[in-house]
Symmetry: C2
Subunit: 210 residues, 2 copies
DNA sequence: AATTGTGAACCTCTTCACAGCT
DNA sequence: AGCTGTGAAGAGGTTCACAATT
């Protein structure tokens, strides 16, 4: 009967909640009215207990005996994941990875909007990729503020990434997704998540020899 | 005094070992002869105990009182991570993310070689990106075998990724890095690692509202 | 009969702390 | 004196298993 819970929530729970949201969005399209934790587990390769535990960190959304109502679960998961509001996103670094982000339209729904890019290459500044304008990096602070950007995706070379973080933080950004393979420094109230793409590839050789 | 250990090794340990290798390669360039777990911890934002524990899964590489000899540590880490041999890599899907991989030369050292790509678009087949030839996807099986590819990076749309896995497995591939946001099926002796790029972005909104 | 919500058990990974080595 | 290697404790996350509910 609780609707919120003080217990510390594992980060892996948040990733899974996002998977659940994807799945129930599909179920909702298919007009499937309800789903049990066991069935949702089947579809996501997770255990029923894991799913119930994850959801219960945030409340009691299910009905004993009949599972979870799909439209309500969509709503609850959107609420939990902060997907009821709109969020503007900018990519810093319009190189190959930054461009890949701009060309990928998969997240230009569900209230996420990639609307600006930055680069220091004069040949790129002023151009558009997938209709997203590339601004001069020297304009980063005013443009981030003007366009009300909430999230920065950093795809610049490692040696420039800390400087970008500093500028973004100065512009009031609270959330950064970093692809440079370096440990970045930011104030405690700024969330920095790191994705190490070449690291992901590099560790595969371990599994090949073991 | 042990040189190997039966205990189960956390996957996070493997990722960290890769970070240690990067770091000691830099130290080696700088001709720094030895490093303590505390100093390496400083450089990687990890605790000294964590580093000793990680290394000790694989042996006793340090010297009591003086730390770890850098050149020996480079050698040991390369050995552990399977980086003493050469490995050929192919990218399947020469879209924006696949192209980003091809253009990124950061891992074309340390014995990893991205040497082939595949796509089903006639306009791309026969072209080269960063000198890497793009083959017709229908030729995937013979080309993977001919070129002795060990690792496949899958960057095709979600709906095609399982078919690609099946082809790769049929060609004898044992190691796959998958970027499609779907749960893939493969035999137990095939390692599939998943990276969910849009998921990484999507969960950020959670942290923004909490 | 079906399925949730959850305390407790379990398992995994990290940190502590120190004996022992150089 | 400095630092590793590691048993033991601690923290964190997952699974079990079942009472409670519809």
């Amino acid at each position: 009967m609780n609707t919120a819970n003080k217990k510390r929530i594992p980060e892996s729970t948040i990733s899974r909640l996002n998977l659940y949201l994807r799945e129930v969005l599909i179920l909702n399209e298919l007009k499937i009215p309800r789903i049990s934790s066991a069935d949702l587990g089947e579809r996501t390769n997770l255990s029923d207990a894991q799913i119930r535990r994850d959801l219960n960190y945030f409340g009691s959304f299910g009905k004993t005996g009949s599972g979870y109502a799909v439209p309500e679960l969509v709503k609850s998961l959107r609420k939990i994941l902060g997907r009821e509001e709109f969020w503007n996103i900018a990519v810093v670094g319009a190189g190959s990875l930054g461009s890949a982000f701009m060309k990928y339209s998969g997240f230009n729904k569900e209230n996420l909007h990639l609307i600006a890019a930055f680069d220091n290459d004069p040949a790129k500044v002023g151009q558009k990729i997938n209709n997203i304008p590339i601004h001069d990096i020297v304009q980063i602070r005013p443009v981030l503020q003007e366009k009300k950007i909430a999230i920065c995706v950093i795809t610049v070379p490692a040696q420039n990434s800390q400087a970008v973080v500093d500028e973004a933080v100065a512009a009031g950004i609270k959330c950064i997704l970093n692809f440079a393979p370096v440990a970045l420094t930011a104030p405690d109230d700024v969330i920095v998540r790191n994705v190490d793409l070449s690291g992901e590839l590099e560790i595969l050789t371990y599994f090949l020899v073991h």
